[in-house]
């Protein structure tokens, strides 16, 4: 494979039918009217020289290289800013044009290094362009005023700004604004002194979020990945999918070398990627170094007790230990004494084989996935309402939104690439309602201002959503036709919700949302045009998470905001393959495709194919496993790529469960916190080594392709097959594509999926079947998957986690841009430059009486535990609510979170913990700071 160079058409495509026939250099081409002459020429196979134009940005017209002559028009207009009109005749190579172009190129070169490092390494377009335009000498000489001696800015850990190579084309500035929407870059000064600057400071101290869009947009070496400077230009590309959040960005992994010598030079977002369309964030673009971090484990290891040192063993021995251990436990404690947890970070194929191993080899349904602790209420709630456990739209749908209702999600930190798309739509005029206790960036940031910020008190979501529905129903704003035609009889619900106890006035004291503000927001949602709901874990991770999901579905059904572009109910999935791991039957009560284990017809499919009898009873959920372990009936656990000891709530309880088990098998890249309690460690593969598929939040099945072979000698799906085989249930596949073939043959929603089809289509959104051979971007058009929509009666039930004298504050948790979940990956990259430790945000009104100032180390205590972290006094949180992230094991925020969970799915109530915050003594502070320093030092 060679390096993929995507064609650059210079300006974005214009929507519309081909209706302008133009003649360019004698070639005729028909394009949608309004298409730039530059793009039309490229489509006709004519390369007009350009520097400031690139097809991801609006035409700008500054470089003046793409000049052309248009018959009947004056002068030499820039082809990038000249729209095609029917009958236009264009010349791109007239004598006049060629002369001006040369003159412009000569000016560029008069302020460009003669020995440009970028040109030398092939990362700068200037030399090629000079050749194309026909400039070999610079008549101005090189003694003139220039910017060649300006110092470089190397403060950003991932890229360098070399001003001597900068041609001030503003592609970076525009990418930062138009694509990323951060507006960190600008041009400073006038005339010859015009220079690119990240707001007058250095890159690291600036507003820059390191999304990499500017670096990608730069046509010269001025903005370059440091890895390119260090390693040189890549020689081949592998199209693959990011392994961080649920956006599922497509990347070109650009690589040097082959086989085990392969080295990733950079990750370049793929323009044709369905989810990201060429954009990226700091994690996917730059934070891949963990895959080659020295902490990475490459050998199987065992030990008899968790107090012992690890011993490296052969794969055979490790697998034998696991198989024999599990069988022995089953012999002594029963078939249900063991189970497995699959990972939402792994591929569909890897997850599928884990549940198959559990159901076929373990002979029980004790398989769960980490989606249990994030989006299980989404699956439950949307399944109840619409009949399928997934979001209703594709990401592109937001382009058609007029109103966005964002609930309990912080996309600019947690789903940055989608957030950029959302912000673009907001800049175009869509309005956003933010329901979140925290003043997140989308409440107010450059060129974004929420129409309404509803600071809903943690734990009162259902009261809030009911009040929204109450306003819509009692003010007659609901879509009666939609309810009649598309939903089950909603009269019970309508009567329920019209009750005065749901009015904004009645619930304001509970939710903390002023009644008038809520009424205005409800009216906007119901009457503002296409309205799309986007939500995150601030909805699901509550004792009423499932109820809240159904409440949001009710809002959409009430207002008819379903079944077309620009509307819908959209969970923003936390991990790359949360959707996929759920689709693959990772839940203890259902088989692939969300089919309950009690269904004989479905079991029969697998019974026949696998040659076993699948248990018709639900298995244990993750928290049930812990409870049963503590209770002595659950003895062995296989954990695939999830750090339950750090990520699951009430760490003390999790640890005591792990200690109660006789065989804990951890399959991971690193010796994570959970591995401290493991008896067998099986080294896993990073996404750079995986071959398979991930399914993102929009149900998009993306291919993950290996950049290099597994350095451990085994792929993860092979390990699982080997364990099952060693347990006496032979499982083998020649290739991961065979696993997908089995999935497709047994799961109706995946019927049309194969690696071959995915390779041909790029990606597909399930359901993919005979009715939708290319997939289904928008669901529930015409009718719901379950037929008629179901409006559940959503009673508000307050959480039992209440504040009081001992624990007067509410703690809620979230993510930050540069770190990812428990930080296993991002902490092992330079991303920690921005966020080296977890920070507790606390309102001045809460900080002052406690004597807390920004920078103080504080103790955070709940009824289950206590931990330390650094405080930041901030008005982003309302009084009474404190906030932190959970990225760093030094703090381990889940030490304080409780066993409370969603009533329906047992998704933990991470978002509500009653806590107290106190300043610590100088000794404790010193100890904390030392442990942060040690942790930082050890992973960098």
């Amino acid at each position: 494979m060679t390096l993929i160079v995507e064609p650059d058409y210079g300006t974005p495509a214009v929507r519309g039918g081909a209706d302008a026939r133009v003649t360019i250099d004698g070639r005729e081409i028909t394009v949608p009217a309004g298409t730039s002459v530059l793009r039309a020429a490229k489509e006709a196979g004519i390369d007009i020289p350009k520097l400031c134009a690139t097809d991801s940005l609006k035409a700008f017209g500054s470089c003046r290289l793409c000049l052309v002559e248009v018959e009947g028009a004056r002068g030499t207009p820039a082809s990038c800013t000249t729209p095609c009109a029917d009958g236009m005749v264009v010349s791109t190579q007239s004598e006049q044009v060629v002369e001006v172009r040369r003159g412009v190129m000569e000016l560029y070169l008069s302020d460009h290094p003669t020995s440009c490092a970028g040109c030398a390494r092939g990362n700068c377009e200037m030399q090629d362009l000079a050749h194309q335009v026909g400039v070999d000498t610079v008549r101005y000489g090189l003694g003139g005023v220039s910017h060649l001696a300006e110092p470089a800015d190397t403060t950003n850990p991932y890229f360098a700004y070399e001003p001597s190579a900068c041609i001030v084309c503003s592609r970076c500035v525009r990418a930062c604004g138009e694509i990323q929407g951060t507006f960190a870059l600008t041009v400073q000064g006038r005339g010859f002194d015009s220079r690119i600057t990240p707001g007058g400071t250095d890159f690291l101290s600036s507003e820059c979020v390191s999304c990499g869009a500017c670096v990608q947009a730069c046509p010269t070496d001025a903005l370059t990945e440091k890895s390119v400077i260090d390693l040189g230009m890549p020689s081949r590309s592998v199209l693959t999918t990011c392994a961080y959040c649920g956006v599922g960005c497509s990347f070109k992994a650009e690589v040097r070398g082959s086989g085990s010598e392969s080295r990733v030079v950079r990750m370049m977002p793929w323009k044709d990627g369905g989810a990201n369309e060429g954009h990226s964030c700091v994690k996917g673009r730059f934070a891949y170094g963990y895959a080659s971090h020295r902490d990475r484990q490459l050998h199987p290891m065992v030990r008899d007790t968790i107090g012992e040192e690890w011993r490296v063993v052969s794969w055979d021995e490790a697998i034998r230990r696991v198989a024999e251990g599990f069988r022995s436990l089953q012999g002594r404690f029963g078939a249900g004494a063991i189970g497995a947890i699959s990972s939402s970070r792994c591929t569909n194929e890897e997850v599928y084989v884990v549940q198959k191993m559990v159901r076929a080899a373990f002979g029980n349904n004790n398989v769960d996935t980490c989606a249990r602790v994030c989006h299980s209420p989404t699956g439950f709630g949307l399944g109840q309402a619409f009949g399928t456990s997934a979001g209703t739209q594709d990401f592109a749908s937001v382009d058609d939104c007029d109103v966005i209702l964002l609930v309990g999600a912080n996309p600019t930190d947690a789903h940055p690439v989608f957030a950029s798309r959302m912000k673009r739509r907001l800049r175009e005029g869509a309005r956003i309602i933010v329901a979140d206790p925290r003043r997140i960036d989308l409440v107010r940031s450059p060129h974004v201002e929420a129409a309404h910020h509803l600071p809903v008190r943690p734990g009162t979501n259902v009261a809030f959503v009911n009040a929204m529905a109450h306003v819509i129903v009692t003010e007659g704003l609901h879509d009666v036709d939609f309810l009649r035609e598309r939903c089950e009889d909603a009269s019970d619900y309508l009567t329920f919700i019209a009750g005065a106890e749901h009015s904004p006035e009645a619930t304001a004291d509970v939710t903390g949302i002023p009644a008038e503000e809520l009424r205005a927001a409800a009216r906007l949602y119901a009457t503002g045009g296409n309205a799309g709901i986007y939500y995150g874990l601030g909805v699901t991770e509550h004792s009423q998470g499932s109820t809240m999901v159904m409440g949001l579905a009710n809002l959409a059904m009430l207002t008819g905001n379903l079944g077309r572009e620009g509307v819908g109910v959209n969970p923003l999935r936390g991990q790359n393959n949360v959707q996929g791991s759920c689709d693959m039957g990772s839940f203890p009560h259902e088989l692939p495709g969300y089919r309950h284990v009690s269904r004989e017809d479905v079991r029969a499919i697998y019974d026949d194919l696998w040659g076993v009898r699948i248990s018709p009873h639900p298995g244990l959920r993750i928290p049930n496993m812990f409870d049963s372990a503590v209770g002595g009936t659950f003895k062995g656990l296989f954990v695939q790529g999830e750090d339950i000891a750090q990520s699951d709530p009430n760490t003390a309880h999790v640890e005591s469960a792990l200690k109660s088990m006789e065989l804990v098998v951890v399959q991971d890249l690193f010796l994570n916190e959970t591995a401290r309690f493991a008896h067998v460690f099986l080294p896993g593969t990073s996404f750079l080594e995986k071959d398979g598929t991930f399914t993102n939040a929009e149900r998009r099945i993306n291919r993950v392709r290996p950049v290099m072979p597994s350095p451990t000698g085994k792929d993860e799906w092979e390990i699982v097959c080997d364990i099952a085989t060693a347990m006496g249930y032979p499982m083998s596949y020649a290739q991961p594509s065979e696993i997908m073939a089995e999935i497709a043959s047994t799961t109706p929603t995946f019927a049309g999926v194969s690696f071959e089809r995915l390779d041909a289509e790029g990606s597909m959104q399930w359901p993919v079947n005979d009715a939708a051979p290319h997939g289904t971007p928008t669901m529930h058009i015409g009718q719901f998957v379950r037929g008629l929509g179901h409006l559940a009666t959503t009673h508000y039930v307050p959480t039992t986690e209440v504040t009081g004298h001992r624990y007067p504050l509410v703690l809620t948790t979230g993510r930050i841009l540069s770190q990812y979940n428990v930080g296993a990956q991002t902490r092992r990259t330079a991303n920690s430059t921005w966020h080296p430790q977890d920070i507790l945000e606390i309102h001045p009104a809460d900080a002052e009486p406690r004597g807390i100032s920004s920078g103080d180390v504080v103790e955070l205590t709940s009824r289950v535990g206590s931990t330390h972290l650094t405080a930041e006094v901030s008005e982003r949180m309302p009084p009474g609510v404190v906030y932190t992230t959970f990225h760093h094991p030094v703090t381990g925020a889940n030490v304080v979170t409780t066993e409370n969970s969603d009533w329906a799915t047992n998704c933990p109530e991470y978002k509500v913990t009653a806590v107290q915050v106190t300043v610590v003594t100088e000794t404790v502070r010193a100890a904390y700071e030392e442990s942060v320093a040690t942790a930082t030092g050890s992973v960098r």
Binding site: G379, S543, R599, N624
Partner: protein
């Protein structure tokens, strides 16, 4: 952490979410939910509490558990996409 057993805690979570319904309907809903999502040994543990006459158990949870023993669960309910 309270000394309450996990199945009782989870059962009471269900009680809180269904207790506003008419008693019989609430009991059915809770029983259905348990049938759909609880591993059998948790169900058995809950039944053991009923048999022992655990005074900490909410009457509705007891009713649901008895309901579960007494009545056949409607298999049709299980065919719904279950999440």
């Amino acid at each position: 952490m309270s000394g309450e057993s996990a199945v009782i805690r989870l059962g009471h979570d269900l009680v809180r979410n269904f207790q506003m319904l008419p008693r019989e309907q609430a009991a059915t809903e809770i029983a259905t939910h348990i049938a759909k999502f609880w591993e059998p040994r948790m169900r058995h543990e809950l039944m053991a509490h009923v048999r022992l006459g655990d005074m900490a158990m909410h009457p509705l949870l007891v009713a649901a558990a008895e309901h579960f023993v007494d009545h056949e669960i409607n298999r049709g309910d299980l065919r719904e996409a279950s999440g």
